[in-house]
Amino acid sequence: MRIMLLLLIAAVVVMPLSNVEAQKAKSIDELAKMFDSSQCKSCHAEIYAQWENSHHARSLMGVQDGLMMTPLAKKGSTPFSPDDPKKATLKTFPCFKCHLPQAVAHAEDSFAVEYAEALLAGDKAKVGKLKITCIVCHNEKAIIHKLSDGYPEKGVLYGSKDIASHPDATFKKVKKSQIMDHAIMCGQCHGLGPNLEFENPVQCATLYGSYEHNYLSKGGQQQCQECHMQKINGKADHLIAPNWNDLEGTKKLLQNAIAMDVQTVGYEWLRKGGDLRPMIVVNTKINQNAGHRIPDG
């Protein structure tokens, strides 16, 4: 009886916390706070600094802070655009599927209204708060076999190995992910082709489709992570290049993947007797050994 009473008391204490966790974010600040990963920085400073420079840390900002989703908020610009930003819903922004996956499951339509208004106001500081944080990949998107393996557990991070005791107030355990070092981890967002589940189709990245159908088929066997997350000081580089804002760094990446050969000849081409025509011929050959088409999207 005493045990039952203790369980009852425990349930009463725990229930309000569960309810809070089940609540959805109503605003940009609420969603940003819900997935804030700044606590990771103190122990994982190098990885955190890499991530801060990555496009994952500015997933709604586009290339060079272009706020690429603005047309979705602008009346008449796309089939998704509402007449008034106050009528925006999560469905207004199909791009959340990959550019802010946590919004799909953990935000309310009021969040989409604030986001639409921020886009139209060009409020980069506000939009910039929304990121694909550590928690998104290492918890929210870490399990793809949800029927067989279950949904990602609260308070658990998923990584390359099991850590029974992880020194963090919220995430006290790390479990080894079955997919974290495989291409399909990236493929969740980096695209197979048209996204036909929306009321109007959208097509963004198709890199994973290219990898599946036109890289593996030619004998390529590397995972995305082997090129885009090469180890630095023994740990995967979380810049996950390319960083399109870093033109010099991107140039080096492209030069590593692509080769160009140029051959030339000058001669006089004989069209017919007595009709020599001055001619230059330039032959070019371009090869690439990346795991996908270049460019994509």
């Binding site: 198709t206 692509i258 025509r277 001619m279 230059i280 070019t284 460019p295 999207g297």
Partner: protein
């Protein structure tokens, strides 16, 4: 790719564009923008382990016996003026030995 005569005059210029090209599948106008693209209609991008070979024939104007050929491979990000020059090769090509 360009070819210029000794006096700097351009005698030949051409471009090749390597990239997937999409429409909304409701008409045949190419579109940029994930929110409106629906399907590729053509794909000229560089594919893994494949060679993209081109041969450019440049008939020279009268009096021109040599040109400076420049081949530049660039990567455009979002818009044509935001680009990275990956490789640039310049060769002097002459008819006379």
């Amino acid at each position: 790719m360009t070819a210029k005569a000794a006096d700097g005059k351009e005698v030949f210029k051409t471009e090749r564009h390597y990239h997937p090209q999409a429409t909304n599948c409701k008409d045949n106008k190419m579109l940029y923008g994930a929110q409106v693209k629906t399907q590729y209609i053509r794909d000229t991008s560089l594919q893994p382990f494949e060679t993209k070979a081109e041969s450019f024939e440049i008939p020279l104007p009268e009096g021109v016996r040599a040109v400076d050929v420049t081949v530049s491979l660039t990567y455009e990000i979002n818009k044509p003026d935001n680009k990275i020059e990956i490789f640039k090769v310049t060769r002097k090509v002459a008819l006379d030995r």
